[in-house]
Symmetry: C2
Subunit: 335 residues, 2 copies
């Protein structure tokens, strides 16, 4: 197996990305090869910072250009034919790699994946989910930004794709699916969710437990929370900001009082454990589901650890044949 | 001024409600009278728990029935003609009180307000907002549940009503209004928000600063965040749950380790300050905007303090003539 890593994408690229890729290659113990895609000189400079690189299964594919985080995806893709993400997707298309991992400009990763690899037959709209922490695991919130203004049929497909991905990745036979709404009763919600509830209920392949509310997302009662990308994106960004706000507020209140500072010191390990629980880096990245290929999208701020986890997730997604199952389920569902 | 308090509505009614009403009467220093509405016997028993009641400006209006929290609003209102909320709204309709405060079944409060008091001329849909904490104050998220599937014109009215309420309540001349979406650019969002952006931009009475994202809600960059009730309700419940999840998680990690326990003790005052910052009880309640009257809706879990603050908010809303300003602004806007 070969996994391409977009070495130039992300706020801390190429340094953090190359570092994470090296860790992934060490963790692979020869199961897969890591292909770093980007500016060869910069990548090789970064590689030299690490020990025993020669013994690792890493190669470099040169790409002369980089799409920056702030660039408009469509314009950038048109102008930069040799961008690192473009070259990585092309390698995937040609069957030279089995998966692509990128922490770059999300819009550009999505657009080049869609253009380069295309959709799985039967999938109307590919989708990105995101993992949110629960007391004992994670919940996949899907969709989180790729698709606004969805029809019930789109939400059904998000539920199916999310369910297959989650089930295969974590070896769960019937992951629990909830529909995000404003009340548990099936009559509660907006027009689209009320209609979606009915078609989710009728689908015998899904383990649909009904509507869930905002408060339920992180309680661990569902494995997959289905919503359109408008709601999902707002929830995701709101959630991320709350932890920052909360920590900043606590830090400010602790201030310079000596007993508070000692208290904070004594609680350090507890804080760290909580942080670990609510840390997206633990989950690495999320797949773009519904395309003809395996593309794992990482947070722009990805650290080496996030990249390591994303590469391992890519390996698992390929191995578990997630796309084969999605295809089998949706091929004849029409668009 | 007379302010009716629904003594029977809320998870901790009548005890917590009567307690809060007594505190409000003490705080009023004769500026207003508190009218407790509900079962006379129960209310009087509760009143006797407090000192010097005779010197306070409190009266009781009997209402034989109570709408429970779990009841279907429409059915309950039809069957229980003498419910505490129904009687309170009737008093308001007859001009015998100037405002109503209730922590009861939100649906029932809304329905009886709408039926009993009607909408302000020009208002297509009355709306509930909710205060969310920011580093140095609050942000009014509007709508949070009354209205799903909104048109741009509805969202414009939420922005106007929210802006008038916030401005009058906190003496701010031009409160900042943001439209909740998935990107700052005006082209970002779903169909409704993209069209709403245009009409908000054209309204010269609003201080519209543009789209905001989920992460911006609690940063203090806007005073009013506009969204439909589907999104608002999910955000609100998700946000409430995060704090609980976070605290529970921290408590669990602290566990029984002695140094962690000492640390927690030393940090107690800092934790309390943060909690105070993020405590909805500080804000008491939120008005149902756009109806012919002043109705403050409180959280079902309201404590005496929340009720006290809600009554003071009702006083301020009446005094500041919020409805006169809403009427002036929307009277000729058509529906």
């Amino acid at each position: 197996m070969r996994i391409a890593v977009d070495a130039m994408g992300g706020d801390h690229a190429p340094k953090a990305i190359v570092h994470g890729a090296v860790e992934a290659a060490r963790a692979s113990k020869g199961r897969f090869e890591v292909v770093l895609v980007g500016d060869r000189d910069q990548i090789e400079t970064e590689l030299q910072r690490h020990f025993n690189i020669k013994q690792l299964n890493i190669s470099v594919e040169h790409a002369a250009e980089t799409i920056e985080m702030h660039e408009s995806p469509t314009t950038a893709l048109r102008r930069k034919k040799n961008s690192s993400i473009g070259v990585a997707i092309q390698l995937h298309k040609e069957g030279k790699v089995d998966a692509v991992v990128s922490a770059g400009n999300t819009g550009a990763v999505m657009a080049s994946s869609l253009l380069g690899l295309g959709r799985i037959k039967g999938v109307a709209r590919p989708s990105i989910g995101s993992f949110l922490p629960t007391p004992e695991g994670v919940c996949l919130l899907i969709d989180v930004g790729a698709n606004v203004d969805c029809k019930p049929q789109n939400l059904l497909q998000f539920a199916i794709m999310g369910s297959i991905f989650f089930g295969r990745l974590f070896d769960i036979e019937k992951p629990k699916v909830g529909l995000l709404s404003i009340g548990e009763e099936e009559s509660k919600g907006n027009e689209v969710t009320i209609r979606t509830h009915q078609i989710l209920k009728q689908n015998s392949h899904l383990n649909f437990i009904g509507n869930i509310e905002g408060r339920d997302i992180m309680q661990g009662i569902v494995d997959i929370a289905v919503c359109d990308g408008f709601v999902g994106n707002i929830i995701l960004k709101f959630g991320e900001s709350i932890f920052h706000t909360f920590s900043a507020s606590l830090k400010e209140k602790i201030g310079k009082k000596i007993h508070s500072k000692i208290g904070a010191l004594l609680l350090k390990s507890s804080f760290r454990l909580v942080k670990k629980n609510y840390d997206w880096e633990e989950y690495g990245g999320v797949p773009l589901l519904g395309i003809n290929g395996v593309v794992i999208i990482c947070h722009g701020k990805s650290s080496p650890k996030a990249i390591l986890n994303a590469v391992l997730e890519a390996e698992k997604t390929v191995e578990a044949e997630v796309n084969t199952y999605i295809k089998r389920e949706l091929e004849f569902s029409g668009e």
